[in-house]
């Protein structure tokens, strides 16, 4: 049965996280999740907006939620936790009438409050389920040791995000296990990587992200699996920047969980964008193929 969800790709899907967007669409198509991209979606404003003003931030999110209502859908999925956090926080606050009225004054078309937002990860867990995912695996990731990294805002605060455990989330672990990989215990699953401070304060990101990569290596991981464009950028793209202060040459691939899903389900690499990663996972992946054959 095909389930329809509105899809909000988020701005980074057009740039730094193209491969996340590509692989998400490919995997969902395969699993029968019909993602309908919100026509003419716009930016949620991310941190700069909520740090500027809460009504403005809510208005930028609510415009997109109102578009979902126009589509006649009541659920929207987004791959990006930062977008998700904004969408969810805005709807949560807009449950209060006074705030909703205020925000709607900024909009051309008011948002009525009927849309439930969720991450692509949540949609895959709740609308598809790990049993179906396991059944679709064509080439299991046997022997791959993976550290799932959820990032800080995917599940926090739990009153708003309402998905998985805020301190020890396991949804991605369960998916990776279903793909046949070995999930290493990774205690810093929900630590902050430094987020958007990569631009103004490289040293902060270096310290935080460096710690995460060290921890992943200590745990015996061969790759870090992420669900957030910002985390991916900090851990992969900046890996060279992090190496110097940490005194380690990490060289550890940082891949999106959707990419691994697509790979395990036998989707062509052209739809998964592994080539867009800085630290290539090619060697690792070829090892699983060899093990399988």
């Amino acid at each position: 049965m095909i389930k329809q969800l509105a899809y909000y790709p988020g701005c980074s899907s057009l740039g730094t996280s193209r491969e996340y967007d590509m692989s998400t669409r490919a995997v969902c198509e395969l699993l029968g999740l019909d993602l309908k991209e919100i026509p003419d979606w716009s930016c949620c404003g991310s941190s700069p907006a909520h740090s500027f003003d809460h009504s403005l931030s809510a208005a930028l999110s609510a415009r997109n939620l109102a578009l979902v209502e126009t589509m006649g859908l009541d659920m929207v999925a987004t791959p990006c936790p930062s977008c998700l956090s904004n969408l969810k926080t805005s709807s949560h606050r807009m449950q209060r009438e006074t705030f909703r009225d205020k925000v709607n004054l900024l909009l051309d078309k008011p948002y009525m409050g009927s849309v439930k937002s969720m991450s692509v990860l949540q949609a895959l867990i709740e609308q598809v389920g790990t049993d179906t995912i396991a059944a679709m695996v064509a080439q299991p990731l046997t022997g791959l040791k993976l550290a799932p990294f959820y990032g800080c805002i995917m599940n926090r605060p739990s009153e708003i995000m309402e998905f998985d455990d805020p301190e020890n989330p396991t949804s991605m672990d369960r998916i990776l296990t279903a793909l046949g990989a070995e999930v290493v215990p990774f205690p810093l699953k929900v630590e902050c990587c430094g987020a958007s401070y990569g631009v103004p304060f490289k040293d902060i990101v270096a310290k935080l992200s460096g710690k995460l990569l060290s921890c992943a290596l200590d745990a015996g991981a061969e790759a870090v699996v992420v669900a957030c464009p910002m985390c991916q950028m900090n851990l992969d793209l900046r890996q060279k920047q992090l190496a110097k202060p940490a005194g380690v040459n990490f060289e550890i691939p940082v891949v999106y969980f959707t990419q691994l899903m697509g790979f395990a389900m036998g989707l062509p690499e052209s739809r998964l964008g592994f080539d867009k990663l800085c630290v290539s996972p090619a060697l690792l992946l070829s090892r699983t193929l060899a093990a399988a054959s």
Binding site: D165, P166, E167, N168, P185, P187, L188, D218
Partner: protein, 652 residues
């Protein structure tokens, strides 16, 4: 009727926001009021004397006192009017303190409201009638529920007072939490050395009937005459034959039973005596791990038992006891630390509770008194204690202070340094709460003499790194966050109401607070009584308590029981229902709805009628609001009396 109205100032408590003189003046205008006056402290000796004198001199036949809540002083004043020769029910109270002067500062509105409440009381009083108690017999036996230190103390005191005691304990041995402790603060004496002899006294006392592995099933009856049903669980060992020799434990091939006595650190045999000093010292089979029950074959224990006590066919039994009073001493549970995800308990084996740590310290514990990490058995060198875990935490629904964690953490810090002199001990705390005799001195010793390093701040997270655990906390006095590489993390888990406490409260018909602790009759003046006559509280079931307080409450509850049993007859509360036989049509609606079965059908000149059994009726009045004929009327809360109150409020 000649009514006297006394309006109390309660010092400035009432007079501060109510013009009591004006209230008294207004009261003079109410029907049948012959005297109205204000007084400084009506409940004081001169205040009560003034009432007595007024009744005698002015020939008053009813009294209204406008002062505090009737839940506070109704009995005080009832006794006063009785001293003056009136029936104690010819008295009403208007609550102008808790319901008026203390909840608002508008003097005009308060004065007006107080006047109305007095009018209501006068109108009610005008319809009061003298009521008289009946006398009934008392069963002078007491049921003590829970064999922790509070229950043990209560049982021993009652038994010493010459009364028969039935002591029921859910586990297979009495001793409770205290039996699990290694040492006790602030004296650091050995817990089992001071508790052990008391447990033996319980076993040997001729007046105590000890029922272990037993729970309360139901309670019927009323003060002086409770009928109690007890459920004795199947132990699969005939305790009349078991000598506690322990040969069965030595030979038992299944060692997978969860070791509840050792707080689930490790496992134990399927047939088990929890600890060497257990009372009663009898074996119990855990069918969840016994091979006989799981696979249908084994029978090793039956073969080795020298007395042939093993009985795999044993069934649960229900016992009945008659008692006159009940003491609930069911204790507390330790907060489930795995609920705090950021501390990783449950995922990380070396993050444990203080009570588990206590078992590691105890010579009778799983490690023989050597501190070893649960994960690898290594001796930890850096130990971090975290206080207020599951206490003072609104986000977990536990906003209260558990009271004793500061003290036992200091004790454990001291014991740790005693056991492992080259260890480092860190304690994260928010505030040190040590307001007992020698308590604060004790925590200071932990810091000053034993070098425990106290850090003021909470811990945000614990995570493993190599074989160590990184404890990331704050030092708010330094204004920074700190990290400690620890070998073992001990969480001072707070106390919470015992699982099943609300269900027990419902059986006993007593109240419990939002956290599940039982509610006492008055927080200061009736700390061990409940609102159900004949049911008393002892120990932590009423709220977290340390050993001295639990013992004191056990004795206090016993004193209450002994005082109750000092009378041969009890007086019944006359505020019960009566059925007017003329009005009764015998439809039995009251019989159907009475929660106590206190109304029976009788034959009156060939017609069915209802009749209230005076000793069983508890005075709820459900029958009164059920009977369309108005035949059943609850004395002191009759339809007419309540209607008079409604009219007093609405029609003026």
């Amino acid at each position: 009727m000649r009514i006297g109205v006394f309006v109390c100032h309660c010092g400035s408590n009432i007079e501060g926001t109510v013009d009591t003189a004006a209230v008294a003046r207004a009261a003079l205008g109410f029907p049948e009021v012959a005297l109205a006056t204000d007084a400084m402290y009506t409940c004081s000796e001169p205040g009560q004397d003034a009432i007595v004198q007024a009744i005698r001199e002015k020939g008053l036949s009813g009294i209204v006192v406008a002062s505090c809540s009737p839940r506070m002083h109704e009995n005080t004043f009832r006794r006063a009017v009785e001293r003056a020769g009136l029936n104690r029910y010819m008295f009403e109270m208007a609550n102008i303190r808790e319901h008026v002067s203390w909840i608002g500062k508008d003097r005009e509105a308060n004065t007006n409201k107080a006047t109305e409440l007095v009018r209501m009381a006068v109108e009610k009083l005008r319809r009061n009638t003298p009521l008289f108690s009946n006398k009934f017999d008392v069963t002078k036996r007491v049921l003590v529920i829970g064999g922790g230190v509070a229950g043990i103390q209560a049982a021993l005191d009652c038994a010493e007072g010459g009364k028969e005691v039935v002591l029921v304990e859910r586990e297979s041995s009495i001793g409770g939490k205290m039996a699990k402790l290694d040492k006790t603060f602030p004296t650091v004496d050995c817990s089992s050395c001071i508790l052990g002899p008391k447990m033996v006294d319980v076993a040997q006392h001729p007046n105590i009937k000890l029922l272990a592995c037993t729970e309360l099933k139901s309670v019927g009856g009323y003060v002086g005459n409770f009928q109690v049903e007890l459920r004795k669980k199947a132990t699969y060992v005939d305790w009349t034959k078991c000598t506690g020799c322990g040969q069965c434990m030595e030979k038992c091939p299944s060692k997978k039973s969860e070791d509840r006595f050792n707080e689930r650190i490790g496992v134990t045999t399927a047939i088990n005596i929890p600890f060497p000093q257990a009372i009663p010292k009898k074996a119990v089979i855990d069918p969840a791990s016994c091979r006989h029950f799981l696979k249908g074959k084994c029978g090793v224990c039956a073969k080795v038992c020298p007395t042939g006590a093993i009985d795999y066919e044993m069934k649960e039994e229900v016992l009945t006891e008659q008692v006159g009073a009940i003491i609930a001493a069911t204790g507390y549970d330790v907060f489930d630390i795995s609920k705090i995800g950021e501390y990783g308990a449950g995922r990380y084996p070396d993050v444990i509770t203080s009570l588990q740590y206590e078992r590691l310290l105890s010579a009778s514990g799983p490690t023989g008194g050597h501190i070893k990490r649960p994960s690898d058995g290594a001796e930890p060198k850096t130990i971090v204690f975290v206080q207020c875990v599951g206490s003072r935490d609104k986000s977990l629904g536990r906003p209260y202070c558990s009271g004793f964690c500061c003290m036992y953490t200091a004790k454990q810090a001291i014991l740790t340094r005693d056991h492992i002199p080259d260890s480092q001990v860190f304690v994260f705390y928010m505030d040190i709460r040590a307001p007992g005799k020698l308590y604060d001195e004790f925590t200071r010793r932990a810091m000053e003499e034993y070098g425990a390093r106290y850090i003021r701040g909470r811990v945000a997270m614990v995570y493993p790194q190599g074989s160590k655990y990184i404890v990331r906390g704050a030092d708010t006095l330094l204004g920074t966050n700190v990290e400690i590489e620890a070998d073992l993390v001990v969480l001072a888990a707070g106390a919470e109401a015992a699982a099943g406490a609300p269900a027990l409260a419902e059986k006993l018909r007593i109240s419990y607070d939002p956290y599940g602790f039982f509610v006492e009759s008055h927080p200061k003046l009736r700390p061990v009584e409940t609102n159900t006559a004949g049911v008393y509280l002892a120990g932590s079931c009423q709220g977290p308590k340390d050993i001295p307080s639990s013992v004191a409450q056990g004795s206090a509850a016993a004193a209450k029981v002994l005082a109750l049993f000092s009378k041969d007859k009890l007086e019944s509360d006359p505020q019960i229902s009566r059925v007017d036989i003329k009005r009764c049509v015998g439809c039995g609606k009251c019989i159907l709805t009475c929660p106590y079965g206190a109304i029976k059908k009788i034959d009156f000149r060939g017609e069915p009628k209802a009749e209230v059994v005076a000793t069983v009726c508890q005075g709820c009045g459900i029958c009164t609001s059920t009977c369309p004929q108005g035949a059943a009327q609850l004395a002191h809360f009759t339809d007419d009396q309540i209607l008079a109150e409604v009219n007093a409020l609405c029609r003026f």
